[in-house]
């Protein structure tokens, strides 16, 4: 009786799950998809992935160059200060020179006037638009998102059961994977019958719809690299994704380094406490 009931219950749950899965897959029309993104991003390999991951400074510098020359004309990065760019391998003087390339509005001065001065390392990246309303007005009604945290603010759902495996594989690069997929995902032709709203651009990797307002922002050869890296769309996307991950999580290296020490300590300590526990309980049946 008990086995019958267990069997029935397992069967019940099983049926519920399969039917659920099947029905969830159903009603998936090519021309009018209801779930986004249409395509899941590919899992790229990143130097900062895994328990010993570190940023590739050359890559971050290239990514910064892409951000400065391409993305920054629309996207702000309000939370990142020039001073933190030293972590990308620049010297103090280089950072000073880089900050000085920007004009920063400051003030009011003693006369009550606002004034413009050269940027200094403690300044933050200035925004391309004076305010959100101006940003929205120049971009068809929606302000381009700020980039300070974009690599942590975007993640395509992994679905069951992948999200469980992710705990063990330490997959935490959904953000950069998404950015890379989006930037390289523009040249696809929409499936037959799909209507693309005026002024938007089809991209099957876009997380919130079938198309987005941003046109293809970057293409082969647009940014010059001086370290011999390939000047291709794929490489640009890779580099800027890595850079944005750094911008969102500047202390990632310190975190993983500290983590390793903490784990080694805890595992050894657990071993010692276990031995003490065994010794203490040795004479007590329990």
């Amino acid at each position: 009786m008990k086995t019958i009931l267990t069997g029935l219950a397992t069967l019940g749950f099983g049926v519920m799950l399969t039917v659920g899965g099947a029905l969830a897959q159903e009603q998936h029309s090519e021309a009018e998809p209801t779930h986004f993104p249409i395509e899941k991003p590919h899992q790229e390999s990143w130097s900062f992935a895994g328990p010993f991951g570190t940023y590739d400074k050359g890559q971050l510098q290239r990514g910064l160059k892409v951000y400065k020359e391409v993305c920054s004309s629309c996207h702000s990065m309000k939370l990142v200060a020039f001073r933190s760019l030293e972590e990308l391998g620049y010297t103090e003087d280089q950072v000073k020179a880089l900050a000085a390339e920007y004009d920063i509005q400051d003030g009011p001065n003693a006369d009550g006037e606002m004034f413009t001065r050269k940027g200094i390392p403690t300044d933050y990246f200035p925004s391309p638009f004076p305010n959100d309303a101006a940003a929205a007005a120049s971009n068809g009604g929606a302000a381009p998102p700020d980039f300070s945290l974009i690599a942590k603010a975007r993640a395509v759902e992994r679905g069951f059961p992948t999200f469980i495996f992710d705990i063990f594989t330490q997959y935490a690069e959904a953000g950069p994977d998404y950015i890379h997929a989006l930037l390289t995902g523009y040249d696809h032709t929409p499936p037959e019958g799909m209507e693309i709203p005026e002024g938007t651009h089809y991209n099957p990797y876009f997380i919130a719809g079938k198309s987005l307002a941003m046109p293809k922002p970057i293409d082969d050869g647009q940014v010059t690299y001086d370290d011999g890296s390939p000047e291709t769309l794929d490489q640009y996307s890779r580099d800027v994704s890595a850079f944005l991950m750094w911008a969102a999580e500047p202390h990632l290296e310190a975190r993983k380094r500290t983590g390793f020490r903490v784990m080694v300590f805890l595992v050894l300590f657990a071993g010692l406490v276990y031995l003490v526990k065994r010794r203490v309980w040795a004479n007590v049946a329990h």
Partner: protein, 432 residues
């Protein structure tokens, strides 16, 4: 404390002086050193200690975070990012606090399920159980308000949805919601009162924890057999036996905790909370933190009107009812046998209940559409049937297995010819 008299004997002059005035050392000695615990406690019983240390960890990291946090809608998001970027080890403090909340719930769920499995709520431990449910409720309130503080998209919309529950109640609903929000919508007054309450509630939790431990030390702990302690051979002194076992479990739990802090710090959070709150942009799917998902699934499972109760109120009542029902568990379970070890049928339904709770959690993360709704309705039905039908009926009709006469007998039956039982409890004294 449990029945017996204090065995504390102050040895030095200063101890005698203190003991005659404020016998705090005596209290600590009786509660955490000499306090007898059943010798057969397994690792499921270590989560009380783990929860205590998690509460301390949350309070310590939280107090420091509050030194750097600004509870104004225009500053909150950036102040959290300032902690992450510029405060010394700020990233560590914040990730400890955010993941600590999740780990706190991992531990409390294991602790609650352990109580359900071994019948820890049964007489004379009804108040102990009820105090535990109160702690759980306070934890939920604290966690919810804490999630609002970073003022991200999920903070804002989560607060909007959850405070919106109260509007389902006729007449009193709207005033309650306005009182919670400090206005008509989630805004600066909401953030400020949530911050204030988020700082207050953990100390209330600590207060109820004292009562919880007090009640525990009056009745004594249960154990996997569910048989009360009958003789001295059934127990071992808390120190060193329980201290070292709890300590080992804590270190193991810290390994799990550290794994999330250092390698997967954002896994348990929602990416949308890295987008500053925007009252004009509703996220595609508003989902609460994972530890609320089963209740969220039950809330959304009620999609139909029941007589005068519309589906919204029905959902809210179902959700509140799913927690309120926990208060009644000591009286819903009619079985004379405490532990599921000797109740084959209850054991089966218990594990189905665990599976059901996990399924509800997963459904809570799915959009409320199509087949998910039907699944959530069935899972909700089982949740309530487990408490309202299975618990009372099973206790009356189930034939339990034969119970051992005592804890000692159960232990010796398990480890036949193992260690020497006699003098086991004397061992700590001889070990010094």
């Amino acid at each position: 404390m449990s029945g017996g008299h204090s065995t504390y004997t102050p040895s030095t002059g200063i101890e005698k002086w203190i003991d005659a005035r404020l016998p705090l050392p005596r209290l600590v000695y009786d509660s955490f050193i000499a306090y007898p615990v059943p010798r057969n406690l397994n690792y499921a019983y270590t989560f009380g200690g783990i929860l205590a240390i998690m509460l301390v960890s949350q309070i310590l990291t939280g107090v420091v975070l509050a030194m750097h946090y600004a509870s104004a809608t225009s500053l909150a998001f950036d102040s959290v990012e300032k902690i992450m970027r510029d405060v010394n080890s700020g990233w560590l403090l914040r990730y400890m606090h955010a993941n600590g909340a999740s780990m706190f719930f991992v531990a409390v769920y294991i602790h609650i399920f352990r109580g359900l499995y071994y019948g820890s709520y049964k007489a004379p431990r009804e108040l102990l159980w009820i105090l535990g449910v109160i702690i759980y409720l306070l934890m939920m309130a604290t966690a919810f308000m804490g999630y609002v503080l970073p003022w991200g998209q999920m903070s804002f919309w989560g607060a909007t949805v959850i405070t919106g529950f109260f509007t389902a109640f006729p007449i009193i609903g709207d005033p309650i919601q306005q009182l919670l929000l400090g206005g008509f919508a989630v805004d600066n007054p909401t953030l400020n009162r949530f911050f204030s309450l988020h700082y207050l509630l953990p100390f209330m939790i600590a207060g109820v924890v004292v009562l919880h431990v007090w009640a525990l030390h009056v009745t004594g702990q249960t154990n996997p057999t569910g048989i009360e302690v009958k003789s001295k051979t059934d127990t071992v002194p808390f120190t060193p036996y329980a201290t070292v076992k709890d300590g080992f479990a804590m270190v193991l739990f810290f390994i799990l905790f550290a794994y999330f802090i250092f390698y997967m710090p954002n896994y348990l959070g929602h990416p949308d909370n890295y987008i500053p709150a925007d009252s004009l942009k509703t996220p595609a799917h508003i989902v609460p933190e994972w530890y609320f998902l089963p209740f969220y699934a039950m809330l959304r499972a009620i999609t139909f009107n029941i007589g005068p109760i519309d589906s919204k109120l029905g959902g809210v009542l179902t959700m509140f009812g799913s927690i309120a029902i926990l208060f009644l568990v000591p009286w819903l379970d009619t079985s004379k046998v405490r532990s599921a070890v000797y109740r084959p049928w209850y054991k089966l339904f218990f594990w189905l209940f665990v599976a059901d709770a996990i399924l509800l959690g997963w459904l809570g993360s799915r959009p409320a559409e199509g087949v998910y709704v039907v699944m959530a309705q069935m899972a909700t039905l089982y949740y309530f049937v487990f408490f309202l039908v299975i618990m009372p009926v099973l206790g009356l009709i189930e034939t339990p297995k034969r119970l051992p006469n005592s804890i000692t007998e159960a232990v010796l039956a398990k480890s036949k010819g193992g260690a020497v039982p006699a003098g086991a409890t004397a061992a700590p004294e001889t070990k010094g």
